[in-house]
């Protein structure tokens, strides 16, 4: 098939495209509602129960009009951004993350939990359907990082940095893409699902070793937050790369499936 007069390849099957956009939606909702849930207790402790002595992150408001963020005991003033923020009702008050980035856009823990627990299912079932279909169709093989790709990682990065004229030879996905997708889909996605389960009392009663494996309930909450942060990091880099590597071609291929090789 030709797109814009040039030869194109069918790069993304329907299920990949559908799950990609469903993930985008679920990702945005899970981040927003997750920050809403975080706001109800804006501390992260590296322990089983809450323990101020093992506090890794604390966002608070020591006085009206002041917001602070404490990371490993180092306190930064973050008024307006974290701790003392827009409450979504036209005022500023003691809220960790600001209302415009939380779901719902004002303090509502019950609402945040409803969104979070529903879209957690959407994201997880979507992942499962994509995984099974990709494994059957063989697309997974193109995507997963292999030991032989490791020595190509730096040459690929060197190419991006314009230190090298040609990228190392590779298939549909280059070695850096494979590394990123493998990390997101097979490390970070399972991490946020398992840590989310591990901090739930009903799951803890069924599978206590899971909660223990992450260091206990509060520690699982910390890992859940770290996993979220890494996924946001991937999201930013991914969006930047799509925007800089032929945004029209990239977007078209994830909508219609047809990608025009450069």
């Amino acid at each position: 098939m030709k797109v814009a007069g040039r030869q194109a390849i069918y790069r993304y099957p329907l299920l990949t495209r559908a799950s990609h956009w469903l993930w985008v939606l679920a990702f945005v909702v899970l981040i927003g509602s997750g920050l809403q849930i975080f706001n109800a207790s804006p501390n992260l402790d590296a322990s089983d129960k809450s323990d101020a002595a093992r506090r890794v992150l604390a966002i608070g408001s020591p006085a009206d009009g002041v917001g602070t963020t404490t990371v490993f005991g180092h306190t930064f003033v973050t008024t307006g951004w974290l701790g003392w923020t827009d409450d979504g009702m036209g005022e500023k008050s003691a809220h960790a993350f600001p209302a415009p980035i939380i779901i719902p856009g004002y303090q509502d823990l019950a609402g945040g939990r409803r969104w979070h627990l529903f879209f957690a299912w959407i994201a997880a079932l979507c992942w499962l359907a994509w995984l099974i279909s990709s494994a059957i169709k063989g697309n997974l093989r193109e995507m997963v990082l292999r030991p032989s790709d490791l020595r190509k990682l730096w040459p690929m990065q060197a190419y991006y940095l314009k230190l090298r004229k040609e990228p190392p030879p590779h298939g549909i996905y280059n070695p850096l893409q494979k590394a990123a997708y493998t990390t997101v889909l097979f490390v970070l996605a399972p991490l946020v699902v398992l840590t989310g389960l591990a901090l739930s009392p009903g799951i803890d009663a069924i599978a206590n070793p899971l909660t223990v494996a992450f260091g206990g309930r509060q520690f699982a909450r910390l890992w859940h937050f770290v996993g979220m942060g890494l996924l946001v990091g991937f999201f930013i880099i991914h969006t930047f790369q799509v925007a800089t590597q032929g945004v029209v071609n990239q977007m078209r291929s994830m909508i219609s499936g047809w990608y025009q090789p450069q």
């Binding site: 415009p100 856009g105 627990l117 299912w121 069924i206």
Partner: protein, 245 residues
């Protein structure tokens, strides 16, 4: 230029999510769809296994106080002043032998001690040592009728607007070996701020299920006609009835 436009629109799309989410959050149909996850979680996770039990030196000496303010009405003040001697736990509804229990009677029943973690829906946790009567044991004493489905806990605390706190468990949850009517916390009689003289402990679910200051236990076939009809004070405010996750 195009790149900057793309990034700017992506950023504004993200910033718009909060208000859009708020609008959708208040739509009844959306709310019903989102709440469907609760049924799935209840079915799949349910109340299985046992909450982890800890050792004595894991216990938090200062157990965090949360929830409504300690009752301040004259009746409760009188109970406290008289060391809960006039207190009677009423057990009624779909039971074979409705009856009342004094604190002394409850103390004479077989006691269970558990050191378990209290997981608040807000995200924090605290470990306490609880002693009291197994809820399942008490239900055996009064005997359940065939139409019994839920055990409702009527409490003495209110939200400041006069709405009394209440909670409910189904029979499976009520008969869980760790579902406890606690009379003691950390080797001392329950103090007023922690729900004296009798409170519930449900370590397999989030803290709001563990009702404090229980006055009356009512066994019912359905909780649809009680208060907001969702089986608990916080459930009536939009929280899940199944609080295992």
């Amino acid at each position: 230029m195009r790149r900057r436009l793309f990034l700017a629109s992506a950023a504004s799309a993200l910033a718009g999510c909060g208000p859009i989410g708020s609008a959708l959050n208040n739509n009844d149909n959306v709310r019903r769809i989102l709440a469907s996850a609760e049924g799935l979680n209840h079915f799949l996770i349910g109340t299985r296994g046992l909450a982890r039990e800890y050792r004595d030196n894991d216990v938090d000496r200062h157990f965090r106080v949360n929830g409504f303010a300690t009752p301040s009405d004259t009746r409760y003040a009188d109970l406290v002043a008289r060391n809960f001697a006039p207190y009677r736990l009423i057990v009624e509804g779909a039971v074979e032998r409705p009856q009342t229990f004094s604190l002394a009677q409850l103390q004479r029943m077989p006691q269970q001690t558990q050191i378990t973690r209290h997981d608040c829906v807000e995200g924090w946790s605290v470990i306490g040592k609880w002693s009291g009567v197994r809820l399942g044991g008490l239900l055996d004493v009064v005997g359940l009728r065939n139409d019994a489905r839920y055990v409702v806990f009527r409490c003495m605390d209110n939200d400041g607007s006069g709405n009394l706190y209440y909670e409910s468990l189904d029979l499976h949850q009520a008969r869980h070996p760790q579902a406890l009517l606690a009379l003691r916390l950390n080797d001392a009689p329950l103090d007023p701020d922690h729900g004296a003289p009798v409170r519930l402990r449900v370590p397999t679910q989030l803290g709001y299920k563990s009702a404090k200051w229980i006055a009356r236990i009512e066994v019912v076939g359905s909780f649809a006609t009680i208060a907001g009809g969702h089986g608990g004070y916080w459930e009536d405010q939009g929280y899940e009835w199944y609080a295992g996750i």
